[in-house]
């Protein structure tokens, strides 16, 4: 089978120029979004049913989390820059932007660890009430996604540095980017529902 025929087999014509890997990632992200939706719905129901629910802004460090949110947004920008460089065949530039994205993710994770330590020290622990319980479940589930994304992007960055993953419009970099942007997108909603409202 020719190289062109192999490449055509990997494209899902129903979805235009999208590859099967990209469509697969989208389907995974939709199912993952449902999991987050379930957790946020549970948070909403428990909160609505509790008249003693504290105002999150009075318990949580909003300014600190806003900085973490901003870093995650910036990491989405470094990710699109990485994809742009990869699509232009610039392996060195793409790897640099990918490592910057990994750095942003690590900063977020370290920020989350610092936040957890501070809250637990203040007596805000998992069994101490519905708000702490739902807070830790939702944010740590998201944190697990950030950790996965950081690992995923690190592996991709190492490959890109060696000149891999740049073929077929840097498809593998784009798929990894979709996951990372999803992690950012979900955090935007978690930050609003759990921290601000």
């Amino acid at each position: 089978m020719s190289a062109l025929a192999k490449a055509q087999r990997r494209i899902e014509p129903t979805f235009g120029a999208a590859t099967t890997g990209k469509v697969g990632m989208w389907i995974y992200l939709v199912t993952d979004a449902m999991t987050f939706a379930g957790l946020l719905i549970a948070y909403g129901i428990l909160r609505a049913g509790n008249t003693q629910w504290p105002l999150p802004t009075s318990v949580l460090g909003i300014q600190f989390t806003a900085v973490m949110t901003f870093v995650l947004i910036i990491s989405s920008v470094t990710m699109v820059q990485a994809l742009d460089a990869a699509k232009h065949g610039d392996a060195k530039g793409a790897a640099r932007w990918l490592f910057a994205t990994v750095g942003g993710g690590l900063f977020f994770l370290l920020g989350q660890v610092y936040e957890y330590r501070h809250l637990i020290h203040e007596g805000f622990t998992l069994p101490s009430g519905n708000f702490p319980a739902t807070f830790f479940v939702v944010t740590s589930f998201h944190g697990a996604h950030v950790f996965t994304g950081v690992t995923y992007l690190f592996i991709i960055a190492m490959g890109v540095r060696k000149g891999k993953f740049l073929d077929r419009g840097a498809n593998k970099v784009e798929i990894a980017g979709l996951f990372w942007h999803f992690v950012d997108l979900v955090w935007i909603l978690v930050f609003t529902f759990v921290y601000l409202i």
């Binding site: 235009g16 989208w26 609505a48 049913g49 509790n50 802004t57 806003a66 949110t69 419009g169 609003t192």
Partner: protein
Amino acid sequence: MSDHDHAPEAAHDDHGPAQYVEFLGFRMKKEYLMVLVVLSVLTIAEVGITFTRLDRKIMGVLLVGMAVTKASFVGLYYMHLKYEKKLLLWVAFTPLPLSAVYAAALMLDAEKILRGLTLPWNLLK
């Protein structure tokens, strides 16, 4: 400095001609910079609004509106949904109203179990 300065000012990619601009010494696609500005401004506005004495219900509606706007910008521009075939948009967005139906059904059910539950649509009355 940019990592790929060799590319022309208006390069072509999968989505047609792309406009590039310089920002803080980095060469960026114009629309990526625009989205970054929107996300940054909305994040600052979100945090700022929590320090005001605005009515909690109005604040909640504004915060949800801003969050959905931010999430939409990330999905449309950074995840390139704006440039994908419509079928992929359907794959991505069809579950959203379904999850809203799921949430509404759960809340109606929970209303009978939990005492003092206030349904979101009653908050707006």
